[in-house]
Amino acid sequence: MTTSMLEKEDTDAPAGRLYKRNIMKEAIFKIFRGDKNGGSEVEYKVPVEEGMVVLDAVHYVQKNIAPDLAVRWNCKAAKCGSCSAEVNGKPRLMCKSRLDDFDLNKEIKVYPMKSFPVIKDLACDVLWNFEVNKKITPFTPKGNTDWKMSQRDIDRVQEFRKCIECFACQNVCHVIREHDLKPKFAGPRFFVRVAGLEMHPLDNADRLEALKSDMGIGLCNITKCCTEVCPEDIHITDNAIIPLKERVVDRFYDPLRMFFRKLFSWLF
C-alpha cells in the first residue's frame, strides 16, 4: 500500500473531499454466509479507504450489497467486545483489524468464531458463556469494612476487570475448541472473572472448590493461546490462571498440607 504518499496529498485537501480522494484500491473479502445447516464463502469487492478496519468492510457489504448479512457490533472502538470473528483464521475484533495489516493482493477471509454454533453468517451462539457466568459465586464483601483500599492492592484486579467479554479467549482455548469440554470447563474468560473476585482485597467468598470441580481449571494446560488473542492485553495465563491453579493445588494436592489436615482431622 502507498499510504504515506496519499497521506501527504490529503493534508492539503479540503475536509469535505477526503472521503472520495482516499479510495485507493479494492480489497477482496470472502465472507462466510450460512447458518447451522451449512453455508459457503461469498466473495465481495470492497473499496479501501485509509485507516479502514475489517468491520468497515463488512458494513460496506451490508449497506451496499447484502443488507441481510448478519454481524454483531456496537462500539466500533474495541470497548464492547461484540465483533469477534476469525479473520484469515485468527480470532480478532473486526473493529481493531486494520486493512493495512493485510496483504491486499490476497483475499481476506472472514468467518464466525469457530468454537460456538453458527446462528447466521458472522453471528454465533455464545449463550453458553452467559450460563457459565451465573454459576460463579458473586462478590461477597467482608463484614465491618471501611471500604478503604490502596491503589497498589487493586492494580492487579483492575487488570482483570478490563475484560470486554469478546470471548476470543474462549473461542481459541483448546479445551473448548478441540475437545469441546464445555460442560466440565468454564474457560479463560471466567477464570479471569474469578481471579478478579478472589484477589479483590475485600472479598470474603471461597471459590477454590468450584474452580477445581465445576469449572475444571485443571483441564487448562497453560498453552497461553488465550493470552495471545486478548484484545485488552490481559495476561490471562500468567496473572489469572496460574495463580488460581496454585491456590487450588495448595488447597487440594499439597502433600504436606494434606498430611497436616489428616493428622489434625479430629480437630475439625
Partner: protein
C-alpha cells in the same frame, strides 16, 4: 385458537426494556422489591452504550474536594442545563448519586483510589469541584459489568437480542409489549403490569455520532405511540471531542477526561482558542460551549487539516497517560496511528446525547401512561438544555433505581387480569412483515440520507430556513422509509431490523426539528444563528409533544414548574432573572 395463542408469551410483573446502566439498575431494584422481572435488550447483555462511557460518574462524595456537597452539584447541573432542568430531578440526582456510587462499590466495582484509599475523583467540564469517580477511562465498563454480575444472581429473566416494536395497553393501562427475536425473526409477546423504558438515545439519526447502531429512539417512539409525552426534543448534545480521522473512525468518542486530566485545545496556528470563548473555565467549559468553539474556529478558517482542533495531553508524560487514559492511548495508536503520549490528537464535535426525551414525573419516573416508566437517556428533564459530563452515569443509577422501585410498587397494586388486545397484536405483526412485500429502496440508503439531512440542517447551528427545509425533506424520507424493500428471510436480518429502526429515527427527527423551530433563542445545546441570544422569556417553558387522537402530532409550550424557594436561595438573584 385465538390470535394470541400463535405467539410465544412471557409474563412478568415488571418488564424492563433496555439493559444499559438504567435498565440494569431498574431491574435490580424491581427484583429486590420482590416482583418478577424480565429484562429485554437489542444486543447481548453487557454491550449497551453504557460500556462505552469513559470519563466517570459525577457524585458529590467529596473525597478530593472536601467542600463539595449535593447543593454544589445541584447548582452546577442547573447552570449547565441553562435553568431548563426539572429541578426536582436535579435535586434528587445530586442528593442520591453518592449513595448509588458507594453501592456499586459494595457490589464489587473497583474505582481508582486516592492516597488514603478512598474513591478518587477527577475534574470535568462544568463541575466546580473534582467530582468524577472513575476507573481510568473505562468507567462505563466497570459500571455495566458490576450491575450485570449483580443482576444475574437475582433471578431476573434476561431476553437478549430481542427488539420491542409496540407497547400494549388494556383500558388505557400498560399491559405488555410486542417484539421479535433478532436471531430468528419470530414474534414474541411480553405480558407485564408495569414497563420501564431504558432504551437510550437517538444518535444514529446523525451522520457523525459516537452512538452505536442501537440508538434509534425506539423507547421515545414506543412511548409516544402509547400516548406518552415527549419533552424538549430540540436539545441534542454534540460532544466536542470525537475522532475525525481516518474516515472509518469519524465520530468515535474521545473522552472528556483528556481535558479533565489537563488536555489543551489549540487551532492550526497553535492558539489556545478557549481563551477567547470561555477564559475562566477554558477547556473545562461545558460541552455546548466547547463544541461551538471548535466549530467556529473551523468556520473562520483556523481548523486543523481534517476539520477539527488539536487536543494535546502529551505534556503529562507517557506513564501518566497510559495509566489514566489507557483506552484513549490504544484507540489512537491502533485506529489512527497517533501516539498521544508524543503529540496531539485531532478532534471535532460528534453527536453524543439527547437531553430531551420522554416526559416523566421527577420522583417516580412515571410517564403519563399508567404503568409506563422511563429512566436514563430516554427520559428528559434532569439535564435541561445541556448535560454535564459524568451526570449521565449518575442519572442512570439514580433514576434507574427509582424507576425499578416505583414500577415494582405499581405492579404490586395492579390487577393481574390484564388483557392483550388481539387487534393490536395483528396490527403490530403486520407493521413488521409488510417490509417484505415492498418494492422500494435499500433501507441503508434512506438511513444515510436521513443522517446527512439531520447533520447538515438540524446540527450544532440552526436557522429557520434550514429547519423548514428539514421538515419538508423529512416528509419525503418518511414516505421512502415506508416503502423500503427487504430481501432475504426474517432470520438475523439486519436490513429488516434497520427498516424498523428507521421509522423511529425519522419520527424522532421530526420532533427534534419541530421543537427546534419553536425555540427562537440560543440556549445550551440549541444554537440558532438567527436568534443568537438567550432569551429569559424562553426559560419559562418546555416544548411538549403528544399524539392527537387522530394520530397527528401536537406540539405545545408548557410552563416550567417553579423551583422551591429554598433551592432558589442557592442562586444569585440576578442569575435567576437573567437566566
Amino acid at each position: 385458537m385465538s390470535v394470541i395463542d400463535r405467539f410465544e408469551i412471557h409474563e412478568h410483573d415488571v418488564l424492563v426494556i433496555g439493559a444499559g446502566g438504567a435498565g440494569l439498575r431498574a431491574a435490580i431494584e424491581a427484583s429486590a422489591n420482590g416482583v418478577s422481572v424480565g429484562l429485554v435488550c437489542k444486543s447481548l447483555l453487557g454491550k449497551a452504550h453504557t460500556v462505552m462511557a469513559e470519563g466517570g460518574i459525577a457524585a458529590a462524595i467529596s473525597n478530593v474536594d472536601k467542600h463539595d456537597d449535593w447543593k454544589t452539584h445541584f447548582k452546577d447541573t442547573i447552570r449547565g442545563g441553562k435553568f431548563l432542568n426539572n429541578w426536582k430531578m436535579a435535586e434528587l440526582h445530586a442528593k442520591e448519586a453518592p449513595e448509588r456510587v458507594l453501592e456499586l462499590e459494595r457490589w464489587g466495582a473497583l474505582f481508582d483510589r486516592t492516597q488514603d484509599g478512598k474513591i478518587l475523583q477527577r475534574p470535568f467540564g462544568g463541575h466546580t469541584c473534582k467530582r468524577l469517580c472513575h476507573v481510568g477511562d473505562r468507567t462505563g465498563l466497570e459500571m455495566i459489568r458490576t450491575l450485570q454480575d449483580k443482576g444475574i444472581h437475582m433471578g431476573i429473566e434476561v431476553y437478549m437480542e430481542c427488539t420491542i416494536t409496540k407497547l400494549l395497553k388494556d383500558n388505557g393501562k400498560t399491559s405488555g409489549a410486542f417484539g421479535y427475536w433478532r436471531e430468528n425473526g419470530r414474534f414474541v409477546i411480553f405480558k407485564a403490569k408495569a414497563i420501564v423504558l431504558a432504551t437510550g438515545g437517538v444518535g444514529k439519526a446523525y451522520k457523525v455520532t459516537s452512538n452505536s447502531w442501537e440508538y434509534t429512539s425506539d423507547g421515545q417512539i414506543l412511548a409516544y405511540n402509547a400516548g406518552a409525552e415527549i419533552l424538549d426534543a430540540e436539545f441534542v448534545q454534540f460532544h466536542p471531542t470525537g475522532m475525525i480521522w481516518p474516515p472509518g473512525v469519524i465520530g468515535i468518542l474521545v473522552t472528556e477526561a483528556v481535558r479533565g486530566e489537563g488536555g489543551i485545545l489549540t487551532n492550526k496556528d497553535g492558539f489556545r482558542f478557549m481563551e477567547k470563548y470561555d477564559p475562566e473555565r477554558m477547556e473545562l467549559s461545558t460541552r455546548d460551549v466547547v463544541a461551538r468553539s471548535i466549530y467556529m474556529e473551523n468556520k473562520e478558517g483556523r481548523g486543523t487539516p481534517h476539520g477539527g482542533a488539536f487536543l494535546d495531553i502529551s505534556h503529562k508524560g507517557a506513564d501518566y497517560i497510559k495509566k489514566k487514559l489507557p483506552s484513549m492511548y490504544h484507540q489512537f495508536k491502533e485506529l489512527a496511528d497517533v501516539d498521544i503520549t508524543k503529540g496531539p490528537m485531532e478532534v471535532g464535535p460528534t453527536c453524543h446525547y439527547s437531553m430531551g426525551g420522554i416526559r416523566v414525573d421527577g420522583e417516580t419516573t412515571a410517564t403519563s401512561v399508567p404503568g409506563l416508566f422511563a429512566a436514563g437517556e430516554v427520559a428528559a428533564g434532569l439535564h435541561g438544555a445541556n448535560r454535564l459530563g459524568g451526570n449521565s452515569l449518575s442519572d442512570l443509577l439514580v433514576f434507574g433505581c427509582r424507576s425499578g422501585l416505583y414500577a415494582a410498587e405499581y405492579a404490586k397494586k395492579s390487577s393481574s387480569n390484564l388483557k392483550i388486545d388481539e387487534q393490536e397484536i395483528q396490527l403490530a405483526e403486520k407493521e413488521m412483515i409488510r417490509f417484505f412485500e415492498n418494492n422500494g429502496e435499500n433501507p441503508y440508503t434512506v438511513h444515510k440520507d436521513l443522517q446527512e439531512l439531520m447533520q447538515n440542517y438540524v446540527g450544532i447551528f440552526r436557522t429557520e430556513s434550514d429547519l423548514q427545509y428539514a421538515i419538508k425533506e423529512l416528509v419525503k424520507i418518511t414516505d421512502r422509509a415506508k416503502k423500503v424493500k427487504i430481501d432475504g428471510s426474517r432470520m438475523y436480518n439486519p436490513g429488516w431490523h434497520m427498516a424498523y429502526d428507521l421509522q423511529n429515527m425519522i419520527q424522532y427527527s421530526q420532533f427534534i426539528t419541530e421543537s427546534a423551530i419553536r425555540r427562537k433563542e440560543s440556549r445550551g445545546a440549541h444554537s440558532r444563528i438567527d436568534f443568537p441570544e438567550t432569551d429569559p422569556e424562553c426559560s419559562k417553558w418546555n416544548n411538549v409533544i403528544k399524539m392527537n387522537d387522530d394520530g397527528s402530532m401536537n406540539i405545545r409550550q408548557e410552563p416550567l414548574s417553579q423551583m422551591s424557594e429554598e433551592l432558589k436561595k442557592l442562586f444569585e438573584e440576578k442569575e435567576l432573572v437573567k437566566k
